[in-house]
């Protein structure tokens, strides 16, 4: 029995290269950890990515592997270094991630979320914009906005997002500094007074779904004010940001009128948030061609994906390209899969996989799945 275990272990680690780092805090990660996997704590994972944030296929895989291991990659390291070197008193800097499909933009955002969490940022994270604007179930809850004329509310989506916001920042929201600056009147009976804690506002949005969109708007304003007054620093992450600038969404009003993205209240709130007229904040946005499915030109450059409108809205920003795996990253990834017994067999398999997947992380993951 023992000898079998030893044999098993020997075979498993016989050709292993270092592929894992024990440095599980992104704040401490440096170039030494480049290309290595680190494991995210399970509870933290649930808190940060519980309501979205990790790609679905990756979630499936991490469930199989019984751990969430994220590779430390160049764009994330670069942005972390930039954030460390930034003077937060200056207007917020916006980083726009771009790159081909499946190169790891969402994973970079997930990694940065972990960093922001460790650093004590207030996290405002939109997991996937197209979930709001393009994903239409049989009955998408829609309502005309009560407060803003001509706009459309997505109350359920907004409430779900508020829950996400609450779980991600549950420890911060408890602190007494987070209070509402002015009085919000929702109806004759319901109102939030100035000086009430912020989490009360969030709870109200979750409980009274009718006002969720307005609560989101209020929270955006409050977060901006709190940041400006140096009570907190804010980390904004929006995946698939270019979804806000598509010509049309797939939503339709009850009168069958097609809705443009700017006619949705959530869009206006998030766009308000991503202006750089406030300080003490970092924004990481991603421009993804998947969020722009009507366009089949395969062009992944932000200028093309954001359209003129979005480009002007974001200008100036720092573009960060997320590239395919380098040789070293590929090797560590393959070794990780081997360690998880996800791929087995002769070592020449890797060369073939490398060529067929063209070092694209998603393709590689996809191709290894049935092996």
């Amino acid at each position: 029995m023992l000898s079998r275990n030893i044999r098993y272990a020997c075979r498993r680690y016989s050709h292993a290269v270092t592929f894992r780092t024990t440095e599980s805090s992104p704040t401490q990660q440096t170039d030494n950890q480049f290309g290595l996997f680190y494991t995210v704590n399970k509870d933290l994972c649930k808190q940060l990515y519980g309501h979205g944030g990790l790609p679905k296929s990756y979630m499936k895989q991490s469930k199989t592997f019984a751990e969430t291991a994220i590779m430390v990659r160049r764009p994330a390291l670069d942005i972390i270094n930039c954030i460390k070197a930034t003077d937060l008193n200056k207007p917020a800097i916006r980083y726009v991630l771009y790159g081909e499909d499946g190169t790891g933009k969402s994973m970079t955002i997930a990694h940065l979320l972990h960093y922001a969490f460790e650093e004590g940022y207030l996290i405002v994270h939109v997991p996937w914009v197209s979930d709001w604007l393009r994903r239409v179930l049989r009955h998408k809850e829609m309502a005309n906005s009560l407060t803003r004329e001509g706009l459309v509310d997505l109350p359920l989506d907004a409430a779900a997002w508020l829950l996400h916001f609450k779980t991600q920042n549950q420890h911060l929201l408890k602190s007494p500094e987070f209070i509402v600056s002015k009085e919000y009147v929702w109806s004759k009976r319901e109102k939030t007074e100035a000086g009430a804690p912020l989490h009360e506002l969030v709870e109200l949005g979750i409980a009274r779904v009718k006002y969720a969109c307005d609560v989101v708007d209020a929270i955006v304003n409050e977060v901006k004010l709190l940041s400006n007054s140096k009570k907190c620093k804010t980390f904004v992450a929006v995946d698939g940001y270019n979804g806000f600038f598509n010509p049309l969404t797939r939503l339709k009003t009850p009168t069958k009128k097609k809705v443009a993205p700017e006619e949705v209240t959530l869009t206006t709130s998030i766009l308000e948030l991503t202006k750089n007229d406030w300080t003490n904040a970092v924004m990481v946005l991603s421009a993804d061609s998947i969020a722009n499915p009507d366009d089949d030109t395969k062009n992944y450059l932000p200028q093309h994906l954001l359209y003129r409108k979005g480009f002007d809205h974001l200008d100036p920003f720092v573009p960060v390209k997320v590239d395919r795996y380098t040789d070293r990253e590929f090797l560590t990834c393959a070794n990780y899969y081997r360690d998880r017994l996800w791929i087995r067999g002769p070592l020449d398999m890797e060369t073939e996989l490398k060529l067929t997947s063209a070092c694209n992380p998603f393709k590689f993951m996809e191709q290894c799945a049935p092996l």
Partner: protein
């Protein structure tokens, strides 16, 4: 013109020679002198005894055949002399190869099948061998297996069994340390195959059934599988045909060199289905693949990518050459197939001979000539028929 007599389209076979050898070893031949030497002298016996009727008929036929062959031989020789004169060469050194060349020169033929082109061969190659007398003048067969109907075939099996028995005996001896086997490795039969049924029939001058041919192969396989089978290699080799080593249709081109001193070779006309393109291979490279200005992501699906990289992985050159292709027309699978062939064809210049042969065996150097089949009127597809309905 005596030559024209030999423009026969009858099939000739190189195995005829073998056939004669084999059958002569079994004392069967048409040559009258041999018969006189080996068999009973029928002329002297004729005076004393009466000849049986079948023998008489046979002798008549044999004489006719011999006369015919003699005549043919004379005509062939005359024709050859004429050819020598026409070509203006020395008759002493004019061989059969020269005859073939002269015929090809004098009678150029566009006929597709080589067997149907004009030829002039010695008569023994043109006219099939015939069985010699199998019985003496008294009507008694020479061969002890005559009444099997296929004496040569069963003689062959008989011989094989005898060899097998000898080998077993030898093996026993070796086991008892009474004999020492030669230090020779096992018989290597990878370079050939057993003669086909048709060839064996020509060798034996007898027709055999499929079952009998299978039995022949079975016996020979058993003979080969014994440990000291090399001792009867002469017997085995008689029934083996060497695998024709594949000749590559074109000689392998030498690569040219660009200004950086890198060897490169371009294969034009890489075709598959409707795709047309060209492939350039640069020899010291890093494994870059460029297809119409993009990398391998030009192909979306994995199958096409596999097609493209297969020759590189097969030869193990995936990190040592750069590939550049221009391809147009057709769909992804056609384009990938065309590129695959182009890469393999270009890689011939950069691999050694054994690899070349294994590439050939792997089918990398074979063009795929299949095209889309046309749709037929009255049915929904090329082969698809309408759903059958009773009424």
């Amino acid at each position: 013109m005596p030559v024209s007599k030999y423009f026969s389209s009858s099939l000739h076979s190189v195995y005829n020679k073998n056939a004669r050898q084999y059958s002569s070893s079994h004392k069967n031949t048409t040559n009258a002198h041999d018969i006189n030497d080996q068999f009973t002298d029928w002329e002297t016996l004729n005076k004393k005894k009466s000849i049986s009727k079948p023998m008489k008929a046979y002798l008549e036929r044999a004489r006719e055949h011999d006369d015919f062959m003699k005549k043919q031989q004379i005509e062939y020789n005359i024709g050859k002399r004429h050819l020598t004169n026409m070509m203006g060469e020395d008759p002493e050194t004019f061989t059969q190869r020269d005859v073939d060349r002269a015929i090809e020169y004098l009678f150029p033929s566009g006929i597709y099948d080589p067997a149907a082109r004009p030829l002039m061969k010695p008569p023994e190659e043109v006219f099939p061998a015939r069985k010699a007398a199998e019985f003496d003048e008294a009507g008694r067969p020479h061969h002890f297996l005559f009444y099997t109907g296929k004496p040569n075939f069963f003689q062959l099996l008989f011989d094989a069994a005898e060899h097998l028995e000898n080998l077993h005996k030898f093996e026993d001896k070796v086991l008892r340390n009474k004999a020492i086997p030669e230090q020779k490795s096992k018989l290597d039969l990878s370079s050939g195959v057993w003669v086909s049924k048709d060839q064996l029939e020509i060798m034996l001058v007898e027709t055999i059934s499929d079952l009998e041919y299978d039995n022949f192969k079975l016996v020979m396989e058993r003979l080969v599988s014994t440990p000291y089978s090399y001792r009867c290699i002469d017997f085995i080799e008689k029934f083996r045909k060497p695998l024709a080593s594949q000749k590559f249709a074109l000689e392998i081109p030498k690569p040219s060199f660009d200004e950086e001193g890198r060897a490169y070779i371009t294969t034009y006309e890489c075709l598959r289905k409707k795709a047309r393109g060209d492939v350039t291979i640069h020899s010291p490279g890093t494994g870059k693949i460029i297809i119409n200005g993009k990398d391998i992501t030009y192909f979306e699906d994995i199958q096409s990518r596999e097609q493209v990289i297969f020759p590189l992985i097969f030869t193990g050159l995936q990190n040592r050459v750069d590939v550049e292709c221009n391809i147009e027309g057709g769909g992804p699978s056609g384009q990938a197939g065309a590129i695959r062939w182009g890469i393999a064809w270009g890689l011939r210049s950069f691999v050694d001979k054994s690899m070349l042969e294994s590439m050939q065996v792997a089918g990398l150097l074979t063009r795929d000539h299949r095209r889309r089949e046309r749709k037929k009127p009255g049915q929904p597809g090329a082969r698809k028929k309408p759903t059958w309905k009773r009424r």
